[in-house]
Symmetry: C2
Subunit: 240 residues, 2 copies
DNA sequence: ATATTTGATTTGTGATCACATATTGAGGCC
DNA sequence: GGCCTCAATATGTGATCACAAATCAAATAT
């Protein structure tokens, strides 16, 4: 009461972030950028300690992520980062084509000039990351690029579904090696996306997005079978 | 040790259901079948008392459902059942067409005879519910019918995405009145779906599913604008 | 009578505790 | 040496408590 009750009424601009939300975003981001290994086991208390928090927010963040199918839940309620199989990868690929193709077509109809400018800018940033073969930076710019395009479509729920599928691809990225040729090849698809958007060509945008997704899925599929062969050839190792 | 250590090793077939899972399913089911009004406010303690449980499992179930966008979260972290708008309904319609069309096509490729038998059976059950104008029974059989078809496609993640969109349609059903003509009309689409499946006609199955979804969306859209007009015409009432 | 403020209640969040079960590792028996 | 048993530890779940913030209602002032 003594120190100016009129000024600064508690002034809390620090955002309405609950601890749980922060933990949730951190784990989600870690998953999407491949900082967890497929098959890795996660414990509530372990993550709580790693994040400098108490078990409670971590527990609830993990349950939210489990609800999104990000983890495999053992019969004893233990959580494990899901492994990717070729079947699941194919499913994700097909559904991504359907969803992201739809969003790309819708985006064309609503696209404004400033949207295209920002999208082009993100595409350039991605090109730089590709030139420098900075894989993690490339990944994030890639997400931002697609997110920015789809945001134009104003389809909140569909966007959430798409991000959920991205979440499932994440752990795979822990396996990809820097490969300049691959990065440049995937930039071709991105350039075609931008061109189609600029031309207001819905079908072209859908086709370019489809190519991008198919290409990425093909690369990951090759990586998966290569890893499987490597694993089975050293099956005398510690783990089955 | 005394009572037969070999027989019945603790024999716990009672399912690994946690309280939270039960609460989650109950609330989800209530949402999908329209037992919550759009805009209804939900409190943790209130639901806990209604379900005869402690606040803890309810809290976590609600957070999982919030993560699926089933609720609107106010800036003060209070939960409210989302309202349906024509824009959101259009988005849900378009994305459902994309996702369920894909699943229907995939289902055709993997369909076995016993699948078709069960699907036909569910379609007949739905017909009975339609004849008796039992809306709530019709709704549930309808869900089971589509779920059973898409299950053939073996696309776990995509199926989860579809169910999530169904979840968003749920509260709208609290508004639909029993209307035999509408039910019978929507049964025509279902019959066509079964016929297309029996003929192993992927494109036909997709078309029939699309019609079904579009028809339902149209009905709900009409209902929404009718309700909006009714609400605005009594704007002298208690609430804005 | 209306608007504002103030106090009481409700509510969500996070921490700590209790408990049942699962996992792990060491030790003993064949 | 290999396999089983059993104790010790780790882990998820649920309950209770504490607290800050928001909501609601009554009471006061204008």
């Amino acid at each position: 009461m003594t120190d100016g009750p009129l000024l600064l009424p508690t002034l809390r601009q620090v955002s309405r972030d609950t601890l749980q939300d922060q933990v949730y975003r951190q784990i989600r981001e870690a998953l999407m950028s491949g900082r967890f290994q497929p098959g890795q086991k996660l414990t509530i208390r372990g993550l709580a300690e790693a994040l400098g928090s108490s078990p409670m927010p971590v527990r609830e963040a993990l349950q939210r992520l489990s609800a999104e199918n990000a983890f495999e839940v053992t019969e004893t309620s233990r959580l494990r980062v899901r492994l990717m199989t070729v079947d699941r990868l194919r499913e994700i690929r097909d559904t991504r084509v359907a969803l992201e193709g739809l969003l790309a077509e819708k985006a064309v109809l609503l696209l404004q000039k400033h949207d295209l400018d920002e999208i082009t800018d993100l595409c350039n940033q991605m090109q730089h990351a590709a030139d420098e073969v900075d894989v993690s930076r490339y990944l994030w710019t890639n997400f931002a690029f697609h997110r920015r395009i789809y945001a134009v479509a104003q389809a909140e729920l569909t966007m959430a579904a798409v991000e959920n599928f991205w979440l499932h691809m994440g752990p795979c990225f822990a396996l990809v090696a820097p490969d300049k040729a691959h990065l440049q090849r995937s930039m071709e698809a991105h350039t075609r996306i931008v061109e189609a958007l600029a031309a207001r060509d819905g079908a072209g945008a859908r086709a370019a997005v489809t190519d991008d997704i198919m290409q990425a899925a093909d690369s990951l599929a090759r990586l998966l079978v290569k890893n499987d062969r490597a694993r089975s050839s050293v099956s005398g190792g510690k783990r089955a």
